[in-house]
Amino acid sequence: MAPKVEVHEESSILQAVILTECDIDYGTAITHYNPKVLVPLANTPLLDYTLAWLERCGVDEVIVYCRTNTHTDKIKQHCKRFTSRREDCGIKVMVVVSEDCLNLGDAMRDLYSKSLLKDDFILLQGDLVATLDLQDIVAKHKENRLSDKSMIMTCVYVNKPTETTTTTAAMEGEEERGKEVTATLVTAADTGKLLLHRRTRSKSSKISIPTELFQASSDLLTYPAAYDPSLAICSEVVPSLFSDNFDYGSRDSLLRGVIEQEELLGYSIRCQVVQDGYACRASTLQQYQRVSGEVMRREAYPMVCESSLTSHRIRYTYDPFTTTYWEPSAKFTKGNGGTSEVVVGAGTEVVDAGTVIITCKLFQRGNGGTSEVVVGAGTEVDAGVLLTASVVGDHCTLSDGVRANAAFIMNNVHIKSGCKLDHCYIGDDVVLEEGVVVSSGCVVGPGVRLGPHVTIPPGTQLVSRPPSSTPDHHDDFDETTRVKEADPSICGVKGKAFILLPEETNQDDDDDDEESSDDDGRSSGQDDGDSEDALMMMSDDEHSENEFRREVQESLMNGMSKKSAAENMVLEINASRHAYNVSMEDVLTTVTQGILRAGQKQDGGTEPTWPGINTALKCFVDVLRNYVRKGRDQLLVLNAIEKLMVDSPEFLPATQKILFNLNQTFEILEGEVILHWYKKGGAGTTAFTTIKTSIAQFIEWLEKDSEDEEDSEDEEDSDEECS
């Protein structure tokens, strides 16, 4: 009996997968130096919140999944430290690194191939701060799974009756971004089965429900905007489903696939919409600000700022009246007193400082201000400093007259008197000289020096080194790369900073991509994380086009050697066309170029020769004719030939003969069309000028031909003339 129990326990290890390369990033100014999951929120790295929560919820094994990059070692070290720092750590943390993981789907496929996931597991993002009762959720999942084998996943959503999203001023200046993380859900009221899942797009969107859903369930429970913490309890089927379907990139695409193809796959997904507990992702900087505020306001209780999540010791002094936290070693120097302004410190003694904070803050309450402040170890705050809703890291100095509202100041930052900070992120080792104004939405990267007396416009991202050295970026920094010296008009005379240009073009592309592919995951046009997605998508398209080209070429080569009938060739090409979803125009281009290339290859040599091309043309003239139906198609053929010249100029000598034969022998191209095309300047590629000269003779002949159309010229003559 005893070993049996042990076996049972062995199999019921609860695993969790934390994805550290979150779908949405904070922007290079931050993540170039520090991975997103290690960015401190209220002076505790984001990953610690997740790990601490999972440990408390009885998770046995955590897989921290990350991509190979400069931060991998940092994450590894951090996880090691997390587990070693407390003796009784209940979780086993395993860091899994992969070379080419671009999204959640890739991660799942990789973990599946490594067969690291044994049973039900929890899937979450590394930027989640949550206090939900996971054990209860997992138990419900298992219970449902016992009763309904087709249920493969439980998605967890949070629907709080009281809405707290009203952030006064958005960090990123884009208030609507927060809406991206909510979803419209339609579930069966009795089972909780997910029937419809849609990202909430606009603020006032009306919800439309397909009435066919009533066949599935007579009562539907609809959540207009449930907050999605990207948390799911997955069964072992989920990774296998991802590896069966390579087009599943994100969890959303899996949801869509499973819901749409329910009859085919025979799987279903359930929802658990929780009312109690806290869960919020610090996905964007705006959300980061929100979560930070909520943690300070103790909404994520028992995860509170004053107790360290790694060692559980009390690290900060907490003043509940003002929601202020400070490390005992922080110094608040004495002020003049009597100022009407609210000051953080007015006593040399730390305890006194606390009391003064209380009175001052209470006074400020009357003005409707918030007062959540966290001050780290060894930080010195002068008199006359006004801090609201801000976090100050360790060993910082804030001089007299500094005002900071919703500023997130990391470690070793020195801010001199008269600086004003508003809704911004200040990285490690930043020095702000006197009178620097950092406007809302700014990100000041580590090591930047600014000032004195400069104003940073809203939404600026500053880094300490010229941005070209940042590897994540594409080459649209021409202007800044040229300027190797920092521009004093931007960062002040003592300053050293470079503006990181927002990638507007990329972002636009991305939005387009997203619309066209109708919410491909939640790759919302969000800073950098998405440019990668966009790239990936582009390469995806290219990839399929290349595949198509290759297949057509193969069919043509085969057809030529086997002398297949034209109808069969067309059938084969059309099959490929449907497989890769290629437009008719692209097909014609590919076929034209393919035929010419087939002639080249058939010849065996690398240099294309006219006889080879001629046999290929003869062989496939019917295939080509099948695709050329109207005048426009003829132009496409001409353009295709021109584009071929761009890629492989070795065809150039044969151009005239190709055109002549297509015109005279095969009668696919009309003389008029060729003339028209010629006069309009072809496809406008670089190769046209060379083509122009090489076919000048033929064009001249054509013009003459059209002029005296009446005189029936002898075709033999013209043939000779051309050759």
Partner: protein, 479 residues
């Protein structure tokens, strides 16, 4: 005594005046100060008026309604109309306006005394030749709705329920609801199949969208009025999940604020062309909840804002009816018990068959015996316990009656065998008849066998024949 005159003017009604007299008497006895009178709030005016819609032609049960108006079809021994009237009476209403088809007023007003009800019935005939909808009927009796009531209870004559109307009214008032609709889970008939030929169940059900916790109505779409998609209004203020339900029965009992009802039924209203209250006006009112308020600042509103601005001591009474649409809130009262609309043959059949066990629930306090004392049942007749026998019914010897409903003044001749059947008033069953699972509304004058049949015309019955799954009704004569 100046105070007296002003007060009696204000509260209208005789009851109020009576109370005032009583009060003055007490005051004299106790030698109270005069000033007290002014502060007394008199609550005696009627707050609710009931309207029973009983002019429906019963389009879904034409086999039965060809001979009798739908509202007078008997459920066990009582006419259908008695059930909603009793519901209203139980809630303490003293009067009900009953909309009936022209020509049926007399029969309808007799229902009350027949059934021993005490409620006053004011029957309002409508001309049914133009096939008026429920909204048309309401427009017709709009002038009968008293100016001083807050709410109007609109109830259909075919409702059989064990809900306490008082609870629904309390819910309505507690939520400050503009319109409250009674709903209940849709339950399939217990007794199947209904007699007559097999019919398809009714097509598409209504869709009701409510906020799952509060019960606030968000959207109402009548069955068949929706296409491939339903569009829910955006309820921005709340994040409460919405329950989109097709399994809720709209019981056709609504409590509506008089002001809203009057606005909707007024000539210049947007609803002036709407014929059905349920399918058109109700969705309209519900949808108005989420439309932006139209700021038509009338003189009344100006006055209100002035009052609220400069005189904070004035608190609007709850009787104060603002003429604007601004704050419409509609709720669904979700009743978990019995709630059936008797508007199809299957439901009519089901309710009749279940009436033996339901009668205490749906007609509490109305002592309608299951076996009427005036019924004459021969001692050699076998009548099962769960049968209902109405007044003056004569059951002869050597008959066998199991699980049947025999309405009043029926006659069952010797040697007849009846099982699971329902007999209407004044039905005679001749000796030797065998009736199973059938609805008999005409006398069987010839010996025959009926299975799953509906009989409304006795001339269709031929001697010694067997009928199965048929409707035996008078063929309409085409001249």
């Amino acid at each position: 005594m100046p105070a007296q005159s002003s007060l009696s003017e204000e509260c209208g009604g005789e009851n109020a005046a009576l109370l005032l007299l009583k009060f003055l008497k007490i005051r004299q006895e106790h030698k109270m100060c005069n000033c007290y009178i002014a502060s007394v709030e008199i609550k005696m005016r009627p707050e609710v008026q009931a309207v029973v819609l009983a002019a429906g032609p019963g389009m879904r049960m034409t086999a039965l309604t060809a001979t009798s108006p739908k509202c007078l079809l008997p459920l066990a021994t009582l006419p259908m109309l008695a059930f909603p009237l009793h519901l209203l009476q139980q809630a303490g209403l003293e009067e009900a306006t009953v909309v009936v088809a022209a020509g049926e007023e007399v029969r309808v007003s007799k229902v009350v005394e027949q059934c021993g009800l005490t409620i006053n019935v004011d029957s309002a005939p409508v001309n049914t030749s133009t096939d008026p909808g429920t909204a048309d009927s309401l427009r017709h009796i709009l002038h009968k709705i008293k100016r001083n009531v807050d709410d109007v209870v609109i109830v259909s004559s075919d409702l059989v329920t064990d809900v306490k109307l008082q609870d629904v009214l309390d819910f309505h008032r507690a939520h400050g609801s503009t319109l409250t609709a009674l709903t209940a889970p849709l339950t399939p008939p217990q007794h199947q199949p209904a007699p007559g030929p097999k019919t398809k169940p009714f097509t598409s059900s209504d869709v009701m969208v409510t906020e799952s916790e509060s019960g606030r109505l968000v959207l109402v779409v009548a069955g068949g009025d929706y296409d491939h998609t339903l569009t829910l209004p955006s309820v921005r203020s709340s994040k409460a999940p919405l329950l989109v339900s097709t399994s809720l029965l709209d019981a056709h009992l609504y409590i509506v604020k008089r002001s809203i009802l009057e606005q909707c039924l007024a000539k210049e209203s947007a609803c002036q062309d709407m014929g059905s209250f349920k399918a058109e006006i109700l969705p309209y009112i519900v949808s108005r909840q989420f439309q932006p308020q139209n700021k038509e600042a009338g003189p009344d509103e100006d006055f209100e804002s002035l009052v609220s601005q400069y005189n904070t001591s004035v608190v609007m009474s709850r009787h104060h009816t603002s003429a604007s649409f601004s704050s419409i809130t509609c709720y669904a009262y979700k009743h978990q018990g019995l709630c059936v609309r008797v508007n199809t043959i299957p439901t009519y059949w089901d309710i009749n068959r279940r009436m033996y066990s339901l009668i205490d629930k749906v007609l509490p306090g109305l002592s309608e015996p299951r076996r009427h004392p005036s019924a004459q049942i021969h001692e050699k007749a076998q009548v099962s316990e769960d049968s209902v026998v109405g007044a003056g019914t004569l059951v002869s010897e050597k008959t066998n009656i199991t699980s049947c409903v025999l309405a009043s003044h029926c006659r069952v001749d010797p040697m007849a065998r009846l099982s699971n059947s329902v007999l209407a008033h004044h039905t005679a069953i001749t000796s030797g008849c065998v009736v199973e699972n059938s609805l008999v509304r005409a006398s069987l004058n010839h010996k025959c066998v009926l299975k799953n049949c509906i009989v409304t015309d006795s001339s269709r019955i031929q001697e010694g024949k067997t009928y199965m799954n048929e409707i035996l009704e008078a063929t309409p004569e085409f001249v």
